[in-house]
């Protein structure tokens, strides 16, 4: 009973924070609450949103994936390379590079599950390896000159709604579907909540880990494609530091770093908070260094909240 109240406060707390942010920026800057600006925010966060699905799964099983920034980068570089240097068609290039992203995720799964390297080390290692690879492939310089139709993914509109926002929305729906409706989605909670119990109940925990890290790679890959289309040129540092923002979104959204607890709806709020915060601060001309400080503080706040809440529910 008491826990239910704490939980519901916690769940609504994040939406409350979101509301307060909106009110604050609306008062502070008249341009904030325009339709245009709101779609801009949604478009800006779309890549975080897409990548956050995979990260949510990973954190649900008390793991972490530090490699997604690099995956975004290498997808940018490889997809561009295929299209520009090797003359691949748009669709083929996208398919191949997203498949590659998924394979890198599966590699993480192999390292974590089969070899047994702690997730933080394993994904840190792949991060390093593939960011080096991205430099080698691109030669350290941007690649550009794509088929003009490629722009649609990141810059197009369907009616008033930007295409990347639609992609993000679709991803959220798929994510929520997986977690709530599919049997393997429920296994994620079981593995995160009590790995030993899951294993002894006949759940093949190893396979679940493969699946989760592969999905994390897949969603990061999608985010990479959206980014490439938006910037219309592949930078060898495109996804630098992305994992940090995505982890912030997920943790802010109430997914427990200890595993077993979290929902997509919370993550959506987390993503929106980061988006609005960034956008609002830009509108208010907050320097990018101050922005970093504020985002760091937000992360501390989010994890602190999670930890304190856990403590209370144990006592």
């Amino acid at each position: 009973m008491k826990e239910n109240i704490i939980n519901s406060i916690k769940r609504s707390a994040i939406w409350l924070v979101l509301l307060l942010l909106v009110i604050f920026f609306t008062i502070a800057n008249h341009r904030f609450l325009s339709m245009n600006n709101l779609f801009l925010v949604a478009r800006q966060v779309s890549m975080y949103g897409i990548a956050s699905i995979g990260m949510t799964f990973v954190i649900l099983i008390a793991g972490i994936d530090l490699s997604i920034g690099t995956i975004i980068t290498i997808v940018n570089v490889v997809c561009a390379y295929l299209m520009v240097k090797l003359g691949f068609g748009m669709v083929e290039a996208v398919l191949v590079s997203v498949l590659m992203a998924t394979a890198i995720g599966a590699l993480n799964g192999f390292l974590v599950s089969t070899i047994g390297i702690p997730a933080i080390i394993a994904t840190f290692a792949t991060q390093t390896v593939f960011s080096g690879a991205a430099y080698l492939i691109s030669g350290g310089i941007p690649i550009f000159g794509f088929d003009p139709r490629f722009k649609v993914i990141g810059q197009g509109y369907l009616g008033p709604v930007p295409v990347p926002v639609l992609i993000m929305a679709a991803c959220f729906i798929v994510g929520a579907f997986i977690l709530n409706k599919t049997y393997f989605g429920r296994y994620f909670y079981a593995v995160g909540g009590n790995e030993e119990a899951a294993e002894l109940s006949g759940i093949r925990v190893g396979r679940i880990k493969y699946l989760i890290y592969s999905l994390s790679g897949f969603f990061a890959g999608l985010a990479g494609i959206v980014m490439l289309s938006r910037t219309n040129s592949a930078q060898p540092t495109a996804g630098l530091g992305y994992e940090f923002d995505v982890i912030t979104c997920v943790v802010l959204g109430g997914v427990s770093i200890m595993g077993g607890l979290g929902k997509i709806s919370g993550v959506i709020a987390g993503v929106l908070i980061i988006g609005i915060l960034t956008n609002g601060m830009v509108l208010l001309n907050v320097s990018s260094y101050t922005q970093m400080i504020i985002k760091g503080l937000v992360l501390i706040f989010a994890v602190g909240f999670d930890t304190i809440q856990k403590k209370n529910s144990v006592a």
């Binding site: 049997y183 909670y189 009590n194 119990a197 294993e199 002894l200 006949g202 077993g260």
Partner: protein, 501 residues
Amino acid sequence: MSEDYVLQLKNIRKEYPGVVALKDVTLEVKKGEILGLIGENGAGKSTLIKTCSGAVIPTSGKIIVNGKEFSEMTPQLAKENGIAIIYQEFNNVGELSAAENLFLGDPIRKGIVIDRKAMEQEAAKAFEQLNIKIDPKTLVKHLTVGYQQMIEIAKAIHQDAKVLIMDEPSAPLTNAEVQSLYNVCELLKSKGVSIVYISHRLEEIFHLTSRIVVLRDGNYIDTLITADSHVDELIKLMVGRELKEAFPPRPLFDYEKNTEVVFEAKNVTGNGDRDVNIQIRKGEVLGLGGLVGAGRTELAQMIFGDVQKTEGQFIFKGKEINPKSPREAIDLGIALVPEDRKRHGALLGVSVKNNINMPIYKTISKLAFIDTAREAATTEKYRKELLIKTPTIQQNVKNLSGGNQQKVILGKWLAANSELIILDEPTRGIDVGAKFEIYKLINQLVEIGKTVLLISSEMEELIGMSDRIVVFAEGRITGELKKEEFEQHLILKMASDIQED
């Protein structure tokens, strides 16, 4: 006649680095029988039954299920062959609902989509069959341990288990819950399910089983027909020697002579308790009786600074104290041996030596350097006194048997050399031999002038060990008994003194 047996474990051997947990043990289960499995802490009971699910892979030996022979099992194989195990440490997922836990690893689904409605309906049916009232939608972490265990049993039945193995199922249960466990066991037996029942409580073994297998030190000792055996005989087989009395003798506490009050709680309210008043004299063993959940552990948590009281006073050695954290309480000279060893007690990933010395590292260090000789000596002392079964003091606590983990925690707090020692269910899950040693230790403690607050739900232990008993019900004190007034039915009456409001 091997066809009579539904499950046979033959010549099982299990080696761990430095330990042989099982040496050539054979166990055979007949159809529809309840078979007792007993032995001291570390005898190998849990290890043996874990071979049935593949949680432990035997070094050698055979597992025969319904005539089919396996050299090792997996959780999937166990399930397919109708074997279900309820482990000593429960195995459910707190964040999932009762229904989902019932179907853990095997949900009802259409394609990849789970069918939550159907699972909830099926779960409701399964619970009803067992006469248990659980809403299938409740998250398991909100359920009492008793119910959590019932879910495990329901799960086993639902998987159509032919053999149900239970590892100390009654240890965390209240008396009423044990009663419903009995009922469920009888029900299953009547349906032809075989049960292997592990327990340190011999009265349960006598009540339920038809045959008893005894292990000692990883060796198979004997199989007895329950109806033809006697408690003393069982104890002798388990311990390997005779235990004459249940409680070591201690001189009567002289209330005339020993008038110094060490600890006092005055009108303490908080953490679910209301208006608690107790006084404990130096050198006394004060027993706290009551049903599980009566508010005794809650009082202990407040004294130990783990949870803050909202009203009232604690007076310790003549001064008012207000411990804000366990650290402060420890520094004041108060120790608490908690009841839930997994959650509050042992550092599982750390060695026996580190665990025992943890609270005293500061005192046995010069500058920041640990006096390793003292560290080892303290560890050895408690290892001997508490009969902790471990190959070396470097062994990780998670590799010890359940009961031995409990002893390590006990040793840790005894080493802390505190004035007031609160023992919360100190002998739960501990074998008869070691129980006796713990009682002896309690006697030694009060002999050298320490004071003990003993929380116990085991009536005999409470009566046998206390100088005085205070009884709790629903967060308040409902009675107090002097040694000459101790009587089981009186305590029970006070413990069930429930106010209606």
